[in-house]
Symmetry: C2
Subunit: 338 residues, 2 copies
């Protein structure tokens, strides 16, 4: 199955990119250089990249659609769309340090280029900016800021749980799903509802779209976990099997470990090794996760979450073309390309 | 000269401590543990510390006084006082990582106990909470949040400049003073005015107190730089000469390097060494900074900034006991104890 990126995602970058550049231009030169590099606005030497911005602009697209769901033009929601993207990038900058990831979007991560300290600060700056630009337009901007702030706190809780899971070998599937909900779904739910909130649209619509975003976000995270194990490097931008090599407690892995199968127990033994895993062991771990039934189980869960997302969408009142675009994005981000 | 901590600083901890604990209690367990440890609310194993909270509670005391300057009771400004203290601790958590500091308030720093990733997240959480608690009370809470957000962006700019200076040997005194203004004075200016803003007091009073805080904050930073070189370990909580050993580009050091004196040139040579400085070299560097005239120069600047702060204070209309308490705090934090 070939999945084509919905047109709205590209449009979002064109519409929201200038607002992000403008926000980043308020930073001091040293901090701006790191933030701009991370956002794909300039290279490591500070030269502007005219193509302007990497990444999928997925969350901004959802925020713009959210305003359109409330019956207004997408240009009215540029500020909240930019704010959500700033938060997303704050978390990427910090997560890359915590996870020791050296590559993102086929480029060296910011901390490997500028140092850990500079990357921490650039993340801090994007978080601060995200709140700052929303608060400029009370009262709805403040409501939007509160929605975003709640999502940030959940995002932090999710990443905290993720870090903590690394130290534990008794992580339960339910905890792991909570973690994914906090880490990924909360910001997605915010992106889908913040446009409605910012333009003063109906609270009921914001609630329905928040539900849509939460389910679609969880489905997206589950698929991302699957791609982290079975995804081709050209799709994921990461080396084959990197999640298993890092013994990441992703939902499929935890499901396999908790499965009460021989494969699950063998996986636990492999993960219990003190030495780094060899290439053969990573391949074997991949087979064990599948043999434990976790691949099929997570595929089913991802499908169920997508179905729940689409059900939330069906319940809400909005222009039909907007509904179709929301659905197309949900299907796009949960497509399994391997 | 013996300098006694003004009573308001202790009172502030009693009044604001519960609000900080309550804000931190909203964090997920893994993140809360790190934040609570850093704030002195619990030990490394998670046991509550009943004494409750280390640190001087200086900024909360200023925020409470700020409300009193506007003629209302200090209890009205507990939320902004807590928010300012949360921001201060966000920056300490992250700065300790960036600067590689292993001790703070005579305790191992959070990143050495819980790891870099967990300490980054705990800092992120305190920053997010600081905005969140202010936005709960529009409209003045939002004005206060914007004041704080502006201070956070300057604080980040200052820390960014500080990091960048480490890589450069041509830092100018003016840049270095800007850095100190951003890194320390901006949040102090915010603390001194946020109480007025939060209770809807006169904008002119907020401006005067912001000026007072900016000057007092810069004086404080200059004295802190001096203590970083000449301060006794029992006062600073840091090993003797640690700033010089780290070749920190503090204002006295940059002033000495830029002084066009033999001592300044000798210091530049010493700082240009590729090996770590020996104890004797650290002692020699201390003497060179003084011989270059930088100690006297920075003492004069610190005195001048304190005088400017007190002049701002004299200009503003406020109850006389509040004015006296502001002055006492400014004198307390700029006292040179060595």
């Amino acid at each position: 199955m070939t999945v084509v990126m919905p047109a709205g995602v590209q449009t979002a970058r064109d519409l929201v990119g200038p607002a992000i550049s403008q926000a980043v231009s308020r930073l001091s030169p040293a901090v701006r250089a790191v933030a701009s590099y991370h956002l794909g606005l300039s290279d490591a030497t500070g030269q502007p990249i005219t193509a302007g911005g990497t990444g999928k602009a997925l969350r901004p697209a959802l925020a713009l659609l959210s305003a359109r769901a409330a019956g207004v033009g997408p240009e009215r929601a540029v500020v909240p769309a930019a704010a959500v993207e700033l938060v997303h990038n704050f978390s990427l900058l910090h997560d890359d340090i915590m996870d020791g990831d050296t590559e993102r979007r086929h480029q060296p991560t910011a901390w490997t280029v500028f140092g850990v300290g500079a990357a921490i600060l650039a993340g801090d700056a994007l978080l601060a900016l995200s709140q700052d630009i929303l608060m400029e337009t009370p009262p709805y901007g403040v409501w939007a800021a509160r929605c975003l702030s709640a999502a940030v706190l959940r995002l932090i809780a999710g990443q905290g749980a993720d870090l903590e899971f690394e130290q534990r070998d008794d992580v339960e599937v339910a905890e792991c799903l909570d973690m994914a909900g906090d880490k990924t779904a909360a910001l997605m739910a915010c992106a889908c509802s913040i446009g409605v909130i910012y333009v003063g649209g109906p609270p009921g619509l914001a609630m329905s779209l928040s539900g849509f975003g939460a389910h679609a976000g969880l489905s997206f995270q589950l698929v991302d976990d699957l791609l982290g194990i079975w995804g081709a490097p050209e799709v994921t931008g990461k080396p084959v099997g990197s999640d298993l090599r890092a013994r990441k407690k992703s939902v499929p892995v935890v499901t396999a470990l908790a499965s009460d199968t021989d494969a699950g127990r063998d996986l636990a033994k492999l993960f219990g090794k003190s030495e780094p895993l060899t290439d053969d062991e990573v391949l074997h771990a991949t087979q064990l996760v599948e043999a434990a039934g976790a691949k099929v189980r997570i595929e089913e869960m991802a499908d169920a979450e997508l179905a729940s997302a689409l059900a939330c969408l069906a319940d809400a009142e909005m222009p039909e073309d907007v509904r179709a675009e929301f659905a197309a994005i949900a299907e796009f981000i949960t497509a399994r390309q391997w």
